[in-house]
């Protein structure tokens, strides 16, 4: 028999084992070594964060149009404000910027459509993004058709050029990469060795020599009457370079598909291209998406190298603006802005790739 009055009433846990104090004890001050680490960490944080916040926000100047509006106590974001259009569109003519804006809007809509899992018609949107949209974008940006004035490619620049280089390089590299990856797994010795040599060559040299090669040697390789635009030369270099990395990602995806899949397809009498196109690649591509996003991130960062061969991508145009005699001495602001833009893009892409990895690997994870 239970005597009610003998049961001790539920009491709250001691304050040292719940709440903020307990959390601090468990995570920051458990033991002398950890306490020392925490104190060092706090010091570093204080040392880094306080001056940064003061420089970037508290003492910064935001409003104005010229150098005289800068008090020089902190960052002068007036510089970024004054140059913002250039940083985004390069030297694209002001009155034609609406064309670039349409392309931007279309680009981000398509990306969002493909990235958000709930939206329908993925296949058709993807086909349009790969085939229709590049044509539309080219007509809009370059002009020369439908009464649109021509805008020569040397006026393209800024973030627009960065995105263009990265996407064209990527979309161009995908089919070449698939062919190379299939070739590397082929049992035909000559095909296989060609693909291995091609892939290892491009993976073995730095991108900058590839770009030098594209800008210096490509004109030598072509008949002298053929004049290739500088942007196109950079794109050819980037695409070939990227295709080798892409091929390795795709090969990794192909290896993850059990051999039984292909054998079963062969047993049904499917030809090589049907086995690949209908059975192996659709399964493999799904596994490859995180790897593809990762190579896209590195391509996106690598596009900054085109400034060395004289194209004005986002970093190139910032660097050029820093040399402007009216705005000397604002390099920190310029670099922080460019770094912030690149960081936003790369960080969100890497988060998306991690999300995909979690989503696609639910079956394997314990």
């Amino acid at each position: 028999m239970i005597h009610n009055q003998t049961i001790i009433k539920e009491r709250p846990a001691p304050s040292s084992s719940v709440g903020a104090v307990a959390w601090l004890r468990a995570n920051l001050f458990n033991g002398p070594i950890n306490t020392i680490f925490t104190l060092i960490g706090l010091y570093v944080l204080y040392f880094l964060v306080v001056p940064t916040v003061q420089w970037a926000f508290l003492n910064a100047d935001w409003i104005g149009t010229t150098r005289d509006d800068c008090s020089r106590e902190g960052a002068c974001w007036v510089f970024i404000n004054a140059r913002f259009t250039q940083f985004i569109y390069g030297l694209y003519p002001r009155e034609e910027i609406w064309r670039a804006n349409i392309v931007f809007a279309g680009f981000f809509t398509l990306i969002a459509w493909l990235a958000i899992p709930r939206l329908p018609f993925k296949r058709w949107v993807a086909v349009f993004a790969l085939v229709g949209f590049p044509i539309v974008a080219y007509v809009l940006l370059h002009g020369g058709y439908f009464d649109l004035p021509r805008v020569s490619t040397h006026r393209w620049g800024g973030l627009m050029l960065t995105l263009l280089l990265a996407t064209v390089g990527m979309v161009g590299a995908l089919p070449i990469g698939i062919v190379l990856a299939l070739g590397r797994r082929s049992d035909m010795p000559i095909v296989k060795s060609f693909c291995v040599v091609f892939i290892e060559f491009w993976r073995g040299v730095p991108l900058i020599t590839v770009l030098f090669m594209a800008s210096v040697m490509l004109p030598l390789f072509l008949p002298s009457e053929m004049n290739v635009d500088r942007l196109v030369r950079a794109l050819i270099g980037l695409t070939l370079f990227q295709s080798a990395y892409m091929a390795e990602v795709i090969r990794g995806g192909l290896q993850a598909i059990p051999k039984g899949q292909e054998e079963a397809a062969a047993a049904l009498g499917m030809t090589y291209w049907k086995r690949m196109g209908l059975i192996v690649l659709p399964q493999a591509l799904k596994m490859m998406i995180p790897g593809i996003v990762n190579t896209f991130i590195s391509l996106f960062k690598d596009t900054t190298l085109v400034m060395i061969i004289g194209l004005f991508d986002l970093l190139g145009i910032v660097q050029a603006a820093l040399a402007d005699s009216r705005w000397l001495g604002f390099s920190l602001e310029g670099y922080v802005f460019a770094a912030f833009m690149f960081w936003i893009f790369c960080f969100s892409m890497s988060r998306y790739s991690q999300y995909l990895e979690r989503k696609l690997h639910t079956g394997h994870k314990r």
Partner: protein, 396 residues
């Protein structure tokens, strides 16, 4: 069943395009022909273009006088040297920044990677912030940041930042004291070498004895003491035959000591910090790849904590870490070619830059430059294959 329409009469051969082996052969021959035609087309164009521009091919230009100066050189070089020598100056500068970059990136990367797994919440968050910041910003931008926004804004030589009257930092670079070795110093490297050999012998002997008798000495600690203590002892015994040449301010600049040019500093800092963020992730995932059961099993055998790490966790983690780690080292060496953007005299900047512009021998110069990088990556991938074969799990 014999009436099936697919049954062919005996002796009838299928047409050759249905035969897999023949089809493969024809396809490959076509591929070879296409590639050969493409190469012939390019070679023809190159010959036409070169003759119309009046450029002669060949490597003869390498023995011509270069006529330009190089700001940093590890071997004797003057503007009277040949173009061939500019190649080696550039190559050595590339290897210098690559080697020191690999060293620094490894140290930072391992520290940050382990810190990210620390039970200390703050430390782990700081490490995560480091990784996510630096690996998502283009390397070239980081190089520019260090060079133009940090090192180029340092005070002039007269207002240098001084660290204990021996190390000076100003807009022209970093000035360090230089050790001058006197006679008798040669003994110290010799002792060092002997100590290393003795330590290796000790470790091997200790392992054999341990397997035979179960007894063991703390061989690693002993070798550590021997390797560093013995040369130190000799150094003191010979009366420290080293003097330091201090950098001194004379006029507008420093004289004496070792000068580290700001281009090198910027490139080295950016390369190390950027690559370290990738190495940290590799280290973290390598350690996390070791399943918890391994550690628990080792603890159940009542192995002490340092032996659990040294005998169970680290050997298995290294198997996961080393392949991507080497490819990061390779990336670092390839990325050091970005030197050309700030004017550090590496291979691409000196040879594929200035030499190419002066001679116009684009094909030879680019081919030589690419060959260097290809050789390095070939050597590294040979090492990788050897390593993978050595540490691969023996499976049935």
């Amino acid at each position: 069943m014999s009436a099936s329409p697919n049954t062919r009469p005996a002796g009838h051969k299928p047409p050759f395009w249905r035969d897999r082996a023949k089809r493969a052969l024809i396809f490959q021959l076509l591929l070879v022909a296409a590639v050969a035609a493409f190469l012939l087309y390019i070679v023809g164009n190159v010959q036409d273009n070169l003759s119309s521009r009046g450029i002669t091919t060949g490597f003869g230009f390498l023995s011509n006088t270069a006529g330009f100066g190089i700001v940093q050189s590890l071997i004797d070089y003057s503007s009277q040297s040949t173009y061939g020598r500019t190649f080696f100056v550039g190559l050595l500068n590339t290897l210098l920044v690559g080697g020191l970059g690999v060293l620094a990136a490894t140290i930072i990367g391992f520290t940050v990677g382990i810190a990210r797994l620390s039970p200390n919440w703050l430390l782990a968050r700081l490490a995560t912030a480091y990784i996510e910041t630096f690996r998502n910003i283009p390397l070239l931008l980081q190089i520019f940041f260090w060079y133009f926004a940090v090192l180029r804004t340092l005070p002039s030589a007269r207002e240098s930042m001084a660290f204990g009257e021996a190390i000076f930092l100003n807009v022209r670079g970093l000035y360090l004291p230089q050790p001058l070795f006197e006679s008798g110093f040669g003994l110290i490297p010799v002792t060092f070498l002997i100590a290393i050999i003795a330590s290796i012998a000790l470790v091997i002997w200790n392992k054999r004895r341990h397997e035979a008798t179960g007894k063991r000495l703390p061989a690693y600690w002993i070798s550590f003491v021997v390797i560093f203590g013995l040369p130190l002892l000799v150094l003191v015994a010979t009366g420290v035959p080293v003097t330091w040449e201090m950098p001194e301010l004379r006029g507008f600049n420093f004289r004496g000591g070792i000068t580290v040019i700001p281009e090198f500093l910027a490139l080295w800092l950016a390369l190390s910090i950027y690559t370290a963020s990738f190495i940290a992730e590799i280290v973290r995932s390598g350690i996390q790849a070791i399943s918890h059961g391994q550690t628990e099993a080792a603890q159940a055998l009542s192995l002490p904590r340092n032996l659990v790490l040294r005998l169970v966790v680290i050997p298995q983690a290294l198997r996961v870490i080393i392949p991507p780690l080497t490819s990061q080292y390779l990336n670092l060496i390839k990325n050091s070619s970005l030197a050309t953007a700030i004017g550090y005299p590496d291979l691409v900047s000196v040879f594929a830059g200035t030499t190419l512009n002066q001679t116009g021998q684009a094909i030879e110069v680019i081919a030589m430059t690419m060959a260097v990088y290809l050789t390095i990556s070939l050597l590294v991938s040979m090492f990788m294959n050897w390593f993978n074969a050595r540490v691969a799990l023996v499976e049935r």
